[in-house]
Amino acid sequence: MQHPDEGTIHAWLDGQLPPEEATALEAHAAECAECSAVIAEARGLIAASSRIVSALDAVPSGVIPIRRKATRPWYASTQLRAAAAVLFVAGASMILLRGRDMTTVQDSATRVSDVSTASDSGEQQLLQQRQAAEAPGAARADGATSAAPEADSPVPPVQSARKAAAPASVPAAAPEEARNETRDAVRRAAAPKVSIGAAANAENDTTKRSAFARSIRVDPVVVTGVAADQAVKLEELRIVRRDSTDTATVTIFELSPGVRVSLSETAPHAATAATVMRQGRLRSTQSEALAGKVAAVPAPPAPALAAPAPAPIASIRWTDSTTRRVYILSGPVSAERLEQVRALIERKK
């Protein structure tokens, strides 16, 4: 047999050749490199076309899902975790600090509550700046009630202090509620020097309050200092929120508990256009204005207390060379930190 044609080769591979022809072809192939190559290719074609034809069996109703946010189980919610952490710390310190000199602890608790109160209004201002800086819907207009988890306190431990002051030992209480109660409790304090324990006691109307909670007199959190800018290397970015309009998208990343930065992403043509935000948020002009400028923003009246200087908000700006989208990343961290975040963001794309 001289070189068999492709049809014959396929017939042979399909087992359709009569025995004598098949033997002859085999013998030829053993000696002919060229034909061996053709045979090998034919084998590949047969297998591949078989696969392709089988793919037709797939159910055609492959629904394209709308991209949903990955839903986490209920016990993984940030607020719940925070409340649980507070509970744990409160409980632990109750045990550890019992029997210590209560006055010194009370003083430190008071001082912490000072800062807490003060930073409350400072938080308001921070919030305003933040709102101006991250116009496309970063903070809620009603920053007061939800500011606790959202606003970046310059002193994260103080934030925990406020949480701890709440009768958070009541597991049933919603974390939000607890924070509100705390804030109310702190505000209601006429004089700056108020013990958190007393404030907590003042709230003892609900029957849910347990004796355990009432007896909390110490602030269990040790102030370790301003730690907004961790030295820890960023491994991954956690997205807290993402809002979009026609032309802009804002994503809030949480770098560490209480430390958040926001990334605004605008289409090239909209970078200098006026953007109207949804839900009665700020009207922002140029995206330049987003970067760290403090605009006059109507906000709920802040308590008239001295405010400590908020952490400076840094921001970096870049343009994607291919899409020409304008990115602005800002937050109460250093510019180097922002660059790290940027690297992570770009890596993720």
């Binding site: 076309s49 034809v53 492959g62 394209i64």
Partner: protein
């Protein structure tokens, strides 16, 4: 006159005979038709009609070849009527399914592959396509020759051409899609 073993008899086969035919060949026939038509409901209709025709047939020498031949002819006749319309709609639907951003599940990937396969298979000449689909159902060259009214010697050539073109089309479509996805991502 065919012997009447079954309770019911039409001129031709008894119902039990057809029942046997049905049990033996229906799955393969429906699958072949589904692959050919891209529409399972339509495939089952044609298969059913094929078995009804078998009822009327007195003798069938090569059952499988006969069934596939009849099914193929039925498709040919019906397809002529609204072939372009159906195909156009089917292609549109596939394109929609293909314009997916960020597939998230293997089910989606399979649907995408199915769409590509559909396009590639439809790109073949009808005879090449039918021969290949029949071969995939295990019909031997004689059966294919009989079903498609070909000479047995030409079946090998037909199949080799069909396979080569199918793979080439599929790879080209795949490459096209990859380019599109790359452009979309950047």
């Amino acid at each position: 006159m065919s012997p009447s073993f079954g309770k019911f008899r039409v001129d031709g086969k008894s119902l039990s005979d057809v029942e046997r035919l049905f049990r033996t060949y229906n799955t393969a026939l429906v699958r072949y038709l589904t692959r050919r038509l891209g529409d399972r409901d339509w495939a089952e209709e044609v298969a059913q009609e094929t078995f009804v025709r078998a009822l009327r047939q007195e003798t069938i020498t090569n059952e499988r070849a006969w069934l596939f031949a009849v099914a193929t002819n039925l498709v040919r006749d019906e397809a002529r009527k609204d072939a372009r319309r159906r195909r156009h709609l089917a292609l549109l639907a596939e394109e929609e399914r293909e314009n997916v951003v960020e597939p998230e599940s293997s089910r989606l990937e399979r649907a995408q592959e199915a769409a590509l396969a559909r396009k590639a298979v439809d790109a073949l000449a009808e005879r090449d396509r039918l021969a290949l689909l029949m071969r995939e159902e295990g019909l031997d060259y004689n059966e294919i020759a009989e079903a498609l009214d070909l000479s047995p010697g030409s079946v090998g050539t037909t199949l080799s051409r069909a396979r080569k073109r199918l793979v080439e089309s599929y790879e080209a479509l795949q490459h096209e899609r990859e380019l599109r996805e790359k452009n979309a991502a950047s």
